[in-house]
Structures are given as structure tokens and as C-alpha cells.
Amino acid sequence: MFVAPNRLFGVLLREEKNMTDGLGALMTIFTEFYYWITVVLMFLIHVGFCMYEVGASRYKHHQHTLMKNTMLIPLVTVTWFFFGWWIYWAFPTGPGLAPSIMNESAALITDESLFSATWYVPTSNLMAVNLGDHISGVFWAAFLLFSWTAASIVSGAIIERITTFAFGILAIAIGSVFWTIDAAWGWHFDGWMLKLLGYHDAYASGVIHAIAGGFALGVLAVLGPRIGKFSSSGEPRNIGPRNPWFVAIGLFLIYTGFWGFYAACNIPIFDLGPEYGLGDGVTFYTATSIYVTPTTLSGITFNFLMSLSGGLLAGYWVSKGDPFWTYSGGLAGIITASAGNDLYHPLQAMMIAAFGTWCAYKLHYYVERKFKIDDAVGAVAVHGYAGVVGLIICGFVLWGYPSSGYSVGSMWVGTDYAPINPLGMFIGAIIMFGVLGFLPGWILAKILHGAGKLRIPREVELAGLDYNIIEQARKDERAVG
């Protein structure tokens, strides 16, 4: 049964009448400002990642490490404008996997539907200053900041040996193509994964973290470890972090930015009465998740802090007080609980976070020893493994909850929405981490490797990417002195 959303962002995106009515205008401007603030907060995630990477890299690689992560900002932003945002709105149906509730077609959504991708081609007048649209730009930017995060997660894992050129290509791939496909499939209210699988991932355990972790692992498998990371007998050696203070401040900034991330995953104010067809005159204003299912900003604040705490406690315990893993544990905790943090009890969020952090830590060292994977900052573990664990747990804890408010049916039918369930979430985790993460990362890295563009020369890696910069600084110093 199709129940077409009759208001959703329609009230915001096609808002002409709203802006001549005081209350409607206030709701629109509030929503505009709300998303704008989330963008500013999420900017801190990138500042944090930059500091974190510089802190984790060695002195002779500092500046190139910083520039690599900095340059993903323009590269992903520009491509997000060119085609990334269009993909999100075009691909919810697969295409071909489940029909849209907007137009009942399983093709790419490029017709004249209310939420069609046709509005978001780079030449659309909604992708610019338009007095008839206060929302597209800030919503575009909120998603863009998710894109930066996805690319930045990959950036940390591969420091000190990848070319900036190759990273730029990989950043565009994960930031403007693959994560936006998974967002269309598993995050969009019309996504086929909600309908067929009952997929639920409110704060992106899978759609950002698992996919980015999987992508990083795919690249690492081809890129190989840093010189000296493993002894001749294959024993891993510890390299870093070289500046624990930068790492600490960086991770604190990432925590701070995550507040914006969580807020950006919500719709701040929404009347579910007419949206759900609750009857004439029935109104119920609430915040909702990105799936347009009710939650509260207050409730998710409980869960954010309790999952952060669960992760910190587990990280401290399992690593025996290692600062790097304690801080990373806090992040892993939030990431693990994120899939269901719109509905969990805070104590559930805390315990789920602690368990996910323990899994991430153990899996990191298992994979490092077994497969000789050199993940310089633990990104695959903190984002990838914790994200996968979080999705699977969510399938059990939220088993039976509707994945959408629009219509509830059974798995595999595809014309309505399957409820949340363990099998659907497990398959969803495989899609996120493996199909859209690891596989594209591995294939693209293979292509770049085959073209001789993936890894810096061995001599440069030994000398340091910044060798020439350091040498020039010394010459300048002598000249001035």
C-alpha cells in the first residue's frame, strides 16, 4: 500500500505560502537556522580529524598529512555539488529494487515528483540563492559535512604512504558517490533497504561509519603497511601517536562535532498528524529521525552522553588505560549505539556502546596480526567494526519497531516497509561495510595501484613527505640568521 508523504519537506521546500504567514515563516526560518548550526558544529569534526591525523603522523610527514585531509574539503564539496546530492535523491529505489512511495516507480527518481533528483542537478535554481527555498542549501550542506566525515575517516587510516592525488580520487569516491548511494538506500525515507530489509540506522552506524571503515580496509589491503610497521617475522610494531596532545584535542573536537552530527540527523519540528494520516485536524508536532519516525532531541542527548561514557569506560578498561584507545573508545561507543539511539534507553545505549568498543579493540589487533593491515589510527576498527556491531545489535534490540511511519508490512515485499529485524540489519551491515565500502575501496585502490598512482616512492616514504619543506625551512633560517 502506498502512502505518499503529503507534507514532509514539501512544507519547507515549496514554502511560498509559508513565508507570508508568521508562524509558517518562523517554522521555516527555525529549520533553516537549525541545520545551519549543525553544519557549523560538524565543521569541528573536520578540525578534529586534521589535528588527530597530524598528532598520529610522524614529524617528517606532518604538513603533507594535514594538506591531504584539508584538500578533501574542496574536492568532496565540489563533486557533492556536481553529482553527489543528485545521487541521494535519484537512487532510493535501487534502482529497480523497490518502488518509490512518491511515484510508485522503481526507476531512478528523476521525474517531477516532489522529492525528485531533478531539483538537485547543479544547474537547478534550487541549488542557489532562491527566495522560494530556505532549506535546500542548509540540508545539502548538512549532508556534505557527513561526506567530509566519511572521506576523513578513510584519510586517517592511510597516512604517510598514499599520494595526495590518489587520496583525492578515493575521497571523491567515498564522499560523493558510495556513501550517498548508501544514504539513498538506507537513510532516505523512501529507501529500498527500509522497505525490503527493515533497515534502521538513525545516526549512521552504517551509512557513514561502517561504509567508511569498510572502504578504508579495502584501500589498506592494496596499499600495504608503512615501512617498518611489521618486523621481518611479521610482528606488528607500534608507530605513534607522535603527539598525544593533538590526538586528545582532535578527538575532543570530533566528540563536539558529533553533537551537530546527531542534530543534523533529525528533522527538528514536524507535524506528524497529517503526515501519518491520523485524522482530520489531528496535529502532533515533534522532532523526528531522518526516517520521519518520532524521537526527541532531549532523549537522544541522554543516549549520546551515555554511549560516549560506555565507550570511554570500555576503552579504558580493555586497553588498560591507553589514552589513544580510551579516546577512540568514546567515539566507538557513540558509533556502535548510533543506529538505534533514537529509541534506546540510555542504559541500553551505554552497554551497547561498551560492547561495541570492546569488539572494535579486539578486532583491530586480530586483523592487524592476521592480515598485516596497518590502520594507522584505528579507523577501520572505531568506525567500521563498531558500526557493523551496532547495526547487528540494533536489529535485535529494536526488533519489531516500524522502520518507517508510512506503512508497515513484511520483509521482501517492497511496496510497504518491513519492520526492524535482525536478519535485515545483518544484511544491511554487509551491504554497508562490504558491498558499498570494502569492495569499491579495494577495486579503486587496485586501479590506482595498477596505474602507479597509489603509493609514494619508497625513498620518499623513508625520507619523509615533508623532506623538501623541512630542508627549505632550514635554508631560510640560515639566510635570515
Binding site: 511560498e16 513565508m19 535554481n125 527566495l131 599520494t163 583525492g168 625513498e459 623532506y467 633560517e477
Partner: protein, 80 residues
Amino acid sequence: MAQVTDWIKHLTTDVDAATEGVQVADIYPAVGMEWMWLTVAVVFWLWFHVSTGAGEAEEQQKLARKRPGANDYKKNIAEW
């Protein structure tokens, strides 16, 4: 180029019934020429990749030929 030359006239021009007498639409210059800007931007974006990729490879090949040791950078660390 100018899309708007008179704000009062612009904001009070009916474009359709929904706007209730208020003009609410795109106000940037050169409306209708977006494809031209897009083409220029895409060319610039592609040129950036080619140019910086080639520059990076050349710089690294030069450094690789010098073959500095793993600790040679230490003697060049500036103290200012």
C-alpha cells in the same frame, strides 16, 4: 546579467497563484546560463586533478633520486 533591477517591482510581481502577489524565486545573476558556469567549473576541476597530480609525481621523483636517509630530515629542523 542582473536578474533583479528593482526590488519592489521584483517582490510584488505575481508569478503564479501560489505566491499571493509575492515574487519568490531565484535572484542570482545570469539565470538560464547555469550550464555555462557548470562547464567552466568541471573543466577547472579536471584541470586541478591533472595539474596537481603531475606536479606531485614530479616532486616525489626528484626527491626519490636524491635518496635521503630516514633520519636526514633531523639535521634540517629549523629552530625558529
